[in-house]
């Protein structure tokens, strides 16, 4: 397996001709249907599209949580399809960060323990300076000893974000991370993600339904029926809304 000494590549993650088919015969669903896309280093990409368009599927396949039916995905220079279960797990642990829509934290661990979890699993020492930076940026300093049940939804998602960033992953995948948050909590979390990209060249791929959330990204990829149907650079909430309206109009 290649290590970080390898020459830098422009894409933090890449998918080529990716297809994912569920079921067979009449019940066949092509959740992804020939998707090709690079996610450049230091870029914040939002993925949007109607429900069932394959956003989660795309993210899962790219993040090594699921496998494509056909096609290839890379994290950096590593092709996930070529790896066994154990190595994919290692890639997830060492190179990828996750934020899910809900249930990001283990209830029996404190916030601090949850944040350090991937590092602990890997048996790596955390970089204390970076950890402090993440924690203070997310304003979690006074919540570290709390268990998830003692935290608000927004706080929980911030802890999840801290966990995703704590191990300096090459890329962070977030599936509707603000889906269950109010607008204030949302903007806090998104603001942090934005800063991570700006200040530390973090690569982020985020699935969202919310144009406002998507507007924090550098670009938006629109999915429809498992294909990339459109892209938008330097998005604003209004430009996104317009594009969404155009797309839904076109599909009708």
């Amino acid at each position: 397996m290649a290590t970080s000494e390898a020459p830098p590549v422009a894409a933090a993650a890449r998918i080529e001709d990716g297809a994912k088919v569920y079921g067979t015969g009449d019940a066949e669903v092509r959740a992804l249907d020939g998707v090709t896309r690079s996610f450049p280093v230091g870029h914040f990409t939002a993925i949007m599209g109607p429900s069932g368009s394959g956003k989660s599927t795309l993210m899962h396949c790219m993040a090594g949580l699921d496998r494509l039916t056909t096609g290839t995905t890379w994290i950096g220079e590593v092709e996930l399809g070529a790896l066994g279960e154990k190595d994919v797990t290692a890639v997830r642990r060492d190179r990828i960060g996750f934020i899910f829509q809900a249930f990001n934290l283990l209830p029996m661990l404190t916030a601090a323990e949850n944040i350090r979890l991937p590092l602990d699993i890997a048996g790596r020492r955390p970089d204390p300076e970076w950890l402090n930076q993440v924690i203070s940026a997310l304003e979690l300093g006074d919540r570290l000893d709390h268990r998830p049940s003692q935290l608000s939804g927004g706080q929980q998602q911030r802890v999840a974000a801290a966990r995703a960033f704590a191990s300096h992953p090459e890329i962070v995948f977030a599936d509707e991370p603000t889906g269950q948050l109010d607008s204030h909590s949302s903007s806090e979390l998104l603001g942090f993600m934005r800063r991570a990209v700006d200040e530390f060249s973090q690569t982020i791929v985020m699935v969202t339904h919310d144009p406002t959330a998507a507007s924090y990204a550098d670009g938006v990829v629109f999915l429809g029926d498992g294909r990339i149907v459109d892209e938008l650079a330097a998005p604003t909430p209004t430009s996104i809304l317009d594009r969404m309206k155009a797309l839904s109009g076109a599909s009708q």
Binding site: L65, F103, L117, I121, S149
Partner: protein, 839 residues
């Protein structure tokens, strides 16, 4: 509606159904197995003895003044009087005793357990217990018949010479025929030998007497009438009973042996049901916690509390009924298996069709269903308390640790401790009932208490494990700590097994330590002679030993029973007063053993002397079957209780007992003869008595230890079952917990926990839960064991085998590892995506 919900819930997790049912199946299986076996054996013996006593209208025998095997023989002079009674057709005396058959290879046949029976041949087939299979009946003084199986084992055929050891000594006989006992050849593995009547009377020391007299009646005379008439001509001390009663008595005697077996089975049935109850309780608690939302929703859409309880109760009822029905069937298998086991050990039971009585089925079903229902009741009630709002909340179900719960836990535990102490030290009612009840409460209390301390306990126990197992161990520990009540209930199933094993081990270890220590101190003999099964044997052996030049002192030891002033049955040892203290240090306190050589004297152990206010010179009445009540003067008081509480001289013994057989011979070598040489010389002279084993002191101690261990291993085997059930309990809890934590496991896998580490995590959790059960079990078991040892005065030394206890703890941990295999695999195989997306 609730019926449908209940069945749906059950069907949704067939695994849980199996795991939970298993304990009930095993428990009910033991209950029904115990009854089925008991009934079948009962039926078989009933049939056997009924056949044997078929022609017997009346039996005349000595009354059982002390115990059923202390009947005085009937004088032959009674026979003509009986024959003269109106209505008597025939009457014949029979004679019985022990007779050991020696095989061609010089080894004794049987004798280590099953009885070795000898009989006098009765000409009247209606009154003869033996049936000729081949050859002829014994007529001459050297003729003998034996049963077919013994002949096969001894490798002899009619016409051969065969050595038989009787109370009169060891002698050569001519085998003239083969016999059966009634309709069966192999009666519980007993060997059968038949002599001509005069020979039997001689070798069994019954010249001019009979063990009993069988009477047949004339046509039309009722047995009971005849018994009445015969009774009228008997001297006092003898009774005439009907053939039916005689059959009953014979059957009862065998049943009491089988009864012990049945009670043992029932005790273990109780233990497995108790352990099973914990598992069911736990299982329902978990599933109801998991179904909180579902129940809340039901309540929100209008289901009443009652119907929520009803749903859970129906679920329990279905489990209970299904498991109990399977259990009853399993019980039949258990009974058949035990029968086969008897056969395998050469102790065949007379055959009878397997007896499944309605009582068996009803009791077994009722017990199984009741236990299941009771165990599910509290979870059901808790379920009904779930408010409708729970449907909307996403609370993590956490058990509150309130002061009230702690108080209840302490009170229940305290009550348990109290009852155990009452059972052991108190003298109110049946101590075993208190002890059992106390243990029950103790375990429940311990479960409640464990719930309160499971967290710190898991932290402490887990601390070293986390160092070894790192992150998976830490996660496992956190999992074990998060729901202390669940952890405690799961652990308690194992606690019960570990506690019982620990108590039994401490008991056995103390027994050995006491006995071995005492033996070392008290036993001065270099050579000890005994039969393998401690059956009495011919005094000829001691006579033979007395002539061995290498041996200086030889003392025969006879045992017999009498009733004391309180009508309690006591065992007295007949010994040689002149030499006994050279071979056995009885710890003489007052008086002199040599004074026992005077007639009508006895030596008494000091504790008995104290409670009965006996001092040297005072008299105590003793009732003997042969001589009636005799006042005995106390000649000596001694302290040791290793080998008996009362001693009399051998002449005194001969006066008061009919049968003269030894149970033990103690001997010392002459000055300058080593123990090994003394033993060798003794063994050489005892070659004609292969039923006897000659031990050196060291070998004797080993043998005592081996006997204790044999018993202990039997107990281990049975208790092992409780541990196995507990393992299933852990499997069940883990499987349910993993189901509940699907999302967490998915998350862990997503952020990089490997499959292997996931398995390790589950394994560590299981190990920690098992160790909690083990530690609590050790504490409880040590308490119970130590208390019992303190109570039994025979156990003078308390010995806690620390090594074994450490082994138990390690085994408990291993039980956790085993329990985790399946759930861990399941957890590791969870699809990461499914797990993340699971509701």
């Amino acid at each position: 509606m609730i019926w449908r919900l209940a069945t749906r819930n059950l069907r949704s997790s067939p695994l849980r159904l199996v795991l939970v049912s298993l304990a009930i199946i095993l428990g009910v299986g033991f209950v029904s197995g115990a009854f089925v076996l008991g009934d079948t054996i009962n039926k078989a013996f009933d049939g056997l003895f009924a056949k044997i006593n078929q022609g017997v209208a009346v039996r005349v025998q000595g009354v059982a003044s002390i115990s059923s095997d202390s009947r005085e023989p009937v004088p032959a002079s009674v026979l003509p009087k009986i024959l003269a009674v109106d209505g008597v057709a025939t009457a014949a005396g029979s004679v019985g005793g022990t007779a050991t058959i020696v095989g061609k290879d010089g080894k004794a046949i049987g004798g280590s357990g099953p009885p070795t029976l000898g009989f006098g041949w009765v000409a009247d087939p209606a009154l003869n217990t033996l049936r000729l299979v081949s050859g002829r009946a014994p007529t001459g003084p050297n003729d003998v018949v034996i049963n077919v199986r013994s002949a096969t084992l001894a490798k002899v055929v009619p016409g051969d010479a065969v050595r038989i050891i009787t109370p009169a000594g060891s002698g050569e006989y001519r085998l003239v025929g083969l016999v059966k006992f009634g309709s069966t050849d192999n009666l519980l593995g007993a060997t059968l030998t038949g002599f001509a009547m005069p020979t039997a009377q001689r070798v069994f020391g019954l010249v001019g007497r009979y063990t009993d007299i069988g009477v047949t009646g004339k046509q039309g005379v009722l047995d009971s009438t005849l018994a009445h008439r015969v009774q009228a001509v008997l001297p006092p001390g003898y009774e005439a009973i009907t053939g039916a009663r005689a059959t009953q008595q014979a059957t009862d005697q065998f049943n009491s042996i089988i009864g012990i077996l049945r009670d043992v089975l029932l005790v273990f049935a109780g233990i497995s049901l108790f352990v099973g109850a914990f598992i069911i309780f736990n299982s329902f608690s978990i599933t109801i916690a998991q179904r909180t939302r579902q129940v809340g929703l039901l309540r929100a859409v209008g289901a009443s509390r009652g119907s929520v309880v009803g749903e859970v109760v129906i679920e329990a009822l279905i489990i209970g009924v299904v498991a109990s029905v399977i259990g009853v069937a399993f019980g039949v298998v258990v009974a058949l298996g035990l029968e086969k086991l008897f056969d395998a050990f050469g102790a065949s039971l007379p055959k009878a069709p397997i007896q499944i009585q309605p009582r068996t089925v009803i009791v077994a079903l009722a017990v199984g269903i009741l236990v299941t229902l009771v165990a599910a009741l509290r979870p059901a009630i808790r379920a009904s308390r779930i408010p409708p709002i729970a449907a909307l909340r996403d609370d993590v179900h956490e058990v509150t640790q309130s002061v009230r719960r702690l108080v209840v836990a302490i009170v229940v535990t305290g009550l348990g401790v109290g009852l155990v102490l009452l059972g052991v030290f108190g003298s109110v009612g049946n101590p075993f009932v208190w002890l059992g009840l106390g243990a029950l409460l103790l375990f429940i209390g311990a479960a409640l208490l464990t719930a309160q301390i499971a967290r710190p306990l898991a932290r402490v126990i887990g601390a070293p494990l986390v160092l070894i197992g790192r992150i998976p161990a830490r996660l496992g520990r956190e999992n074990a700590m998060r729901n202390p009540a669940r952890t405690a209930q799961t652990a308690t199933a194992l606690t019960i097994g570990v506690a019982l094993v620990t108590a039994a081990t401490i008991f056995a270890s103390s027994l050995y330590a006491s006995f071995a220590g005492d033996l070392d101190r008290r036993l001065l003999a270099q050579v000890i002679v005994q039969t393998g099964s401690q059956q009495p044997f011919t005094p000829a052996a001691a006579t033979a030993l007395a002539a061995v030049p290498e041996l200086a002192t030889v003392t025969a030891w006879r045992e017999g029973q009498f009733r004391d002033a309180h009508h309690d049955v006591q065992t007295v040892s007949g010994v040689d007063p002149a030499t006994i203290l050279d071979l056995y240090d009885a710890g003489l306190l007052h008086g002199a053993f040599t004074d026992l050589s005077r007639p009508g004297t006895i030596a008494v152990q000091k504790d008995y002397a104290k409670t009965n206010h006996l001092t040297v010179g005072s008299t105590m009445p003793a009732f003997f079957a042969k001589t009636g009540t005799r006042p005995l003067r106390v000649a000596a008081i001694f302290s040791a209780s290793t080998f008996g509480q009362f001693f009399i001289s051998l002449p005194e013994y001969e006066r008061n007992f009919t049968t003269q057989q030894d149970t033990l011979i103690l001997a010392r070598g002459r000055e300058g003869v080593s123990a090994a040489d003394a033993k060798k010389a003794a063994a050489a002279v005892l070659a004609p008595y292969p039923n006897l084993t000659v031990y050196t002191k060291a070998a004797y101690k080993d043998q005592v230890n081996a006997q204790i261990n044999q018993l202990l291993y039997l107990v281990y085997t049975l208790l092992g079952l409780a541990v196995v059930i507990a393992i299933f309990g852990i499997v069940n809890t883990l499987a349910l917990s993993i189901f509940e934590r699907t999302r967490e496991i998915g998350l862990l896998r997503a952020v990089g926990l490997t499959r292997r580490a996931t398995r390790a995590m589950i394994r560590w959790e299981a190990i920690i839960v098992a160790l909690i059960g083990g530690v609590v079990g050790l504490v409880l078991g040590a308490f119970i064991g130590i208390v019992i040892v303190q109570r039994i005065s025979l156990l003078t030394t308390l010995s806690v085998p620390w090594g074994s206890l450490v082994v138990f703890l390690v085994l408990a941990g291993l039980a956790g590892v085993v329990a985790a295999i399946f759930p861990a695999r399941r957890a590791a195989r969870l699809n990461v995506l499914d797990a993340i997306q699971a509701e």
